[in-house]
Amino acid sequence: MNSILKNTLVGCLFLLGIISNYAQFTIPPKPAKTTEQKAVYDYADILNSEERQVLNSKLIRYADTTSTQIVLVSIPDLKGEDIGVLTPRWAHKWGVGDAQKDNGVFILLSKNNRKIWISPGYELEQYITAGQAGTIVRNVIIPEFKAGRYYQGLNKGITVIMQMLNGTFKGNLNNNISNENNEFPIFFVFILIVFFLIIWSKKRNNNNSDHNNGKNKKSPSLLDIIILSNMGRGGYSGGSFGRGSSSNGGFSGGFGGGGFSGGGAGGSW
């Protein structure tokens, strides 16, 4: 008698567990080791391993030079959750970005729901306003996704985000990027201008301040390489520079505990 009762009870609890699991998306626990706290988590399996590595190393290198952590996560399904709520909550839970600077960016993509969302950390909201994030999604990412090119869409979107954060984005989102193929020469000139601007501003920075100890001085041109290696190329060849030791690794020091206000924008395709 007792055992029957026990079994039904356990069964009920099990069922309850299934129901509650079904009704809500459970954010995976933050990876325990800092070496596992990387930039790309492709739970929905939308990228191949090479694409994953290229994006991951691009984002890790960006974090090494700027300390801004951009994390990209794909999930199979939202399970009824609102993506605009889930994205910043997940980001806040994992603490993407530095705790003092709150400089994380979290990009969440749900494959079945065909939705993507970008949430900036507190301090980055001024550089990537919701309107801008929405425009990136609408005009840069979604056109590629509609053609089934996940990697190209994400790669281009991330590049634009980086440019916005650096203050070097000068393009017109409405025209330039969506039909990039026709305008390659213009784009190339644009890259050159950006390149020289960055070098010039870096030089000035180095002259002005000595408090950039080690980290920045070590690799003054890394950012330029990132931008050069990923812009305008679009395709699979994008990351040929970056197959370094960091290609599969995590952020140095892991997620820093950055905060998110809940804002962000996105769209569906």
Binding site: D82, R89, G131, F260, G262, G264, A265
Partner: protein, 195 residues
């Protein structure tokens, strides 16, 4: 006799030192709730500002239904008229705040539904951006409210417990009210359109 006085003095001193600790804890917990409340108000303020822009943009669209616009404008005026002192939030005040902001959410919702009928507006880049900002702000409001409730909880737990409640009574650290779900606004305003 002197000895007894000394003992009583020591006990009194210990008690007051002890209550100092309680008091300080209450102050810091109280500060956290005030900060969380500040974030709630910032998010709502931001929404008010955005609604101003929205009204302007929508007004520009030809022969737009005036009644829904007027509703939004009135609800906004009502919402901005309710202010709460963060150090002394009473349940009544909070309920009122919730009500007026909920009214604004409702008016905003119906405005955005009617916008569906205006293809010009839906293709307008500025309008699309404004929609992104509004959605974002609604989510920020939701987050700020949740975190406010999260900050209230440890404060209330602390203030209610014995003997803290006695000390809390001396210094007017009252139990603070939680945010209830806004009527009809449990979910953020859905301003997503098909792209």
């Amino acid at each position: 006799m002197k000895f007894i006085y000394r003992i009583i003095g020591c006990i009194l001193l210990a008690c007051s030192l002890n209550s100092c600790g309680y008091y300080n804890n209450m102050v810091s917990l109280n500060e956290e709730t005030a900060e969380a409340w500040g974030n709630v108000q910032t998010a709502y303020q931001r929404r008010n500002d955005l609604i101003g822009n929205l009204v302007k943009t929508v007004k520009g669209a030809a022969d737009y239904e005036k009644s829904t616009l007027v509703d939004v404008i009135n609800a906004r005026a009502k919402a901005t008229s309710v202010n709460i002192n963060p150090t002394n939030i009473t349940p009544k005040q909070l309920a009122q705040f919730n009500k007026v902001q909920g009214g604004l959410s409702g008016a905003l919702k119906s405005l955005l539904v009617t916008v569906e009928r205006y293809p010009d507006l839906k293709a307008n880049q500025n309008f699309l951006k404004l929609q992104d900002e509004l959605t974002s702000t609604e989510n920020q409001i939701l987050t700020a409210r949740t975190r406010f409730n999260g900050a209230i909880k440890p404060y209330n737990n602390y203030v209610k417990r014995f003997p803290n409640n006695i000390i809390a009574g001396w210094f007017n650290f009252d139990v603070k009210p939680y945010f209830d779900a806004e009527a009809g606004a449990e979910k953020p305003v859905d301003v997503n359109f098909e792209f």
